[in-house]
Symmetry: C2
Subunit: 384 residues, 2 copies
């Protein structure tokens, strides 16, 4: 496969970008800490500011393409009642600083156990340290710094990837860049690391296909559909983890690729998996700018597909109908797109849902021999 | 890394083994079907036989090393009441035959939707087709054939793998063997496919380290611990899926490697994750022979570790104590190993549990700089 290789200058630029990001984050941490210390030195009450995290403080515009946190701010002032939480927040920021300086990382659990050495500032329960980490994430998100940039990584797998893609991954200690060719994994795949900030990409693929189930991913991978369609396959395994969302976002931004979500035609696939992937969720809108993939469009299964391909269906359950009606009435994303309003209303009228594997009715490989090529001939028809 | 490469003869033998397995499975399916037809042709009532699947029909011997299904058999005779289930079972066997002949595979969901073309024999609910597939699996397990050999694959990811290992994976269509070098994934990893029957291995690793959490796997992988310790790292993500268990089993058998399970020191890590990995579970004992990894020993966290390493703990919940007491009283595996009886009793007396990331109290990398080397110096002390 003739894939455009990154030049040494581009590789160096990518490595430099990663280092510059670390320096910028360090600078922000130091500024924040210095501001607190200055206030204390001048006998003023120091204060930390966080965005308000609720649906009331969220907006959606089709231009940005994802849920955006609003201007609502809450602040916490140092007092006798808040002194322990204050100290813990500062100590957690110091841990982040240390992680960046040593080029290491920590999960939420790691951070909780590290705190056992913080004497009076230690956490008694992980729920407490998780809250402090969430606060720090929210605080720094206002300055365009993600939790992963603070070197706090999720304790989740990152999904599986295969296809026309080379991932460039500099070693933590030596800096030597590993070239990972995702066309060379046989029936297996590339498992995305918990944090992807340090990766660069080479690809000549035309799009990213984000697949709901592992079974469907395995079918397309084993039959090398990525070669036929010149694309990159990503297995989400239900609602995608932070790492796999961030991976797709960075790849799609970097290589100007559209993302097509191939999920079940039901209120969960549409309202949870697809919506979360594309625009984020209400209570986590402060991190949408990092994790949403607004380039995503909906490839399938649509209510029209259920009719056109005569798919076997399941009746909608009460919880499905409730989810659908809630999306139509309250969700800023679906309310902004009349075509989605029509599609969801149609699904509710039909009273049924269809899984992506329902295409197997026409033969196990009908999905990539007929369905996907027919749909991909008209991406302009994809639901937004 | 100087790793012994498989010779062409060995590669050919591996490919031939895979084909021979397919032929043997086809033969068994045809025999089973012919037996049914002969009975019908001679106007006798045909009958299918399945092992009884319950704890009462399970035995554990330390020699075999896993839960074995007993001799209890139930049979189902064709009658007016059973005719539909009978027809569906035969039709599902025909699907398996077709999958082997076309070198393809199907998930449970695929099989359910395929049945929509079986006219009178179609399934109305996936639960029905799942039951028929489970029956066929049980029936063929008595003849040493696994569900994966029947080409029914799980709809689950297969876990992440990194380290001193080359996986050899012949292409479904061309037969060309892909060599996948698991030392070359950077901070990412090799994602195991849903079915692993067709894989071969090259390795000079000394052991397989099976890790409970993705966060711990990421730490050991990013710091290239597999290089330091010359081992293969496997991320289980809780109770390991069928594919990852089968992967470790085949690798451990083939390369005569011990498997060390690095899990939390709590009744769940011991009684569910470790026990299931090593010896299987009661209601699935008919498949233990394929999926258990009896070579596994328990590397951590033990009740002694909690004391020796002064680990932070959580109090045992009622459900933990109940799980532990149940294991001591009823579980054939723990009852066969007095050392386990002592360890679990000690944990209950201490009234606490400790997670593997509790080692982070001593520093984030203490786990691979101190804990693992100290433990690995004395594998003979590992709990059985």
């Amino acid at each position: 496969m003739a894939m455009k290789k990154l030049s040494q200058a581009e590789l160096d630029a990518a490595a430099e970008r990663s280092k510059a990001q670390g320096r910028a984050t360090l600078k922000l941490i130091k500024e924040t800490a210095k501001d607190l210390k200055d206030k204390i030195d001048h006998r003023k009450a120091p204060m930390m500011r966080f965005p308000v995290r609720s649906l009331q403080n969220v907006s959606y515009g089709t231009k940005k393409g994802y849920f955006e946190i609003g201007k609502g701010i809450k602040s916490r002032t140092l007092s006798v009642a808040t002194v322990k939480g204050f100290a813990q927040t500062v100590r957690m920021m110091a841990l982040s600083k240390e992680l960046i300086e040593t080029n290491d990382f920590a999960t939420k659990r790691d951070a909780y156990y590290q705190s056992k050495n913080w004497e009076e500032a230690h956490f008694d329960e992980q729920a407490e340290s998780d809250t402090v980490m969430d606060d720090i994430e929210a605080m720094f998100s206002m300055r365009d710094v993600s939790r992963e940039q603070l070197r706090f990584i999720p304790d989740e797998h990152g999904g599986a990837v295969a296809g026309s893609l080379v991932v460039l991954d500099p070693d933590l200690e030596t800096g030597r860049v590993e070239r990972i060719d995702c066309t060379r994994f046989g029936s297996g795949a590339y498992s995305v690391p918990s944090s992807v900030e340090h990766l660069s990409f080479e690809t000549d693929a035309k799009f990213i296909l984000a697949i709901e189930t592992q079974g469907m991913f395995q079918r397309l991978q084993s039959h090398k559909y990525w070669q036929t369609a010149n694309c990159i396959l990503v297995s989400m395994g239900g609602v995608p983890t932070r790492a796999v969302r961030r991976f797709m976002r960075r790849l799609a931004d970097d290589k100007k690729l559209p993302v097509y979500a191939f999920v079940d035609g039901d209120p969960y696939g549409i309202g949870n998996i697809y919506r979360t992937l594309k625009v984020g969720s209400g209570n986590a809108a402060h991190i949408s700018r990092f994790f949403c993939v607004p380039q995503t469009r909906f490839l399938g299964i649509t209510p029209d597909d259920i009719e056109d391909y005569e798919l076997p269906t399941h009746p909608l359950k009460d919880v499905d109908v409730k989810r659908a009606e809630d999306a139509l009435r309250n969700d800023p994303f679906f309310k902004a797109h009349p075509r989605w309003g029509e599609a969801i209303s149609k699904l509710v009228r039909m009273g049924v849902r269809a899984e992506q594997q329902a295409l197997a009715k026409h033969g196990l490989n009908y999905v990539w021999e007929r369905y996907l090529p027919e749909k991909l001939a008209h991406p302009e028809k994809f639901l937004p």
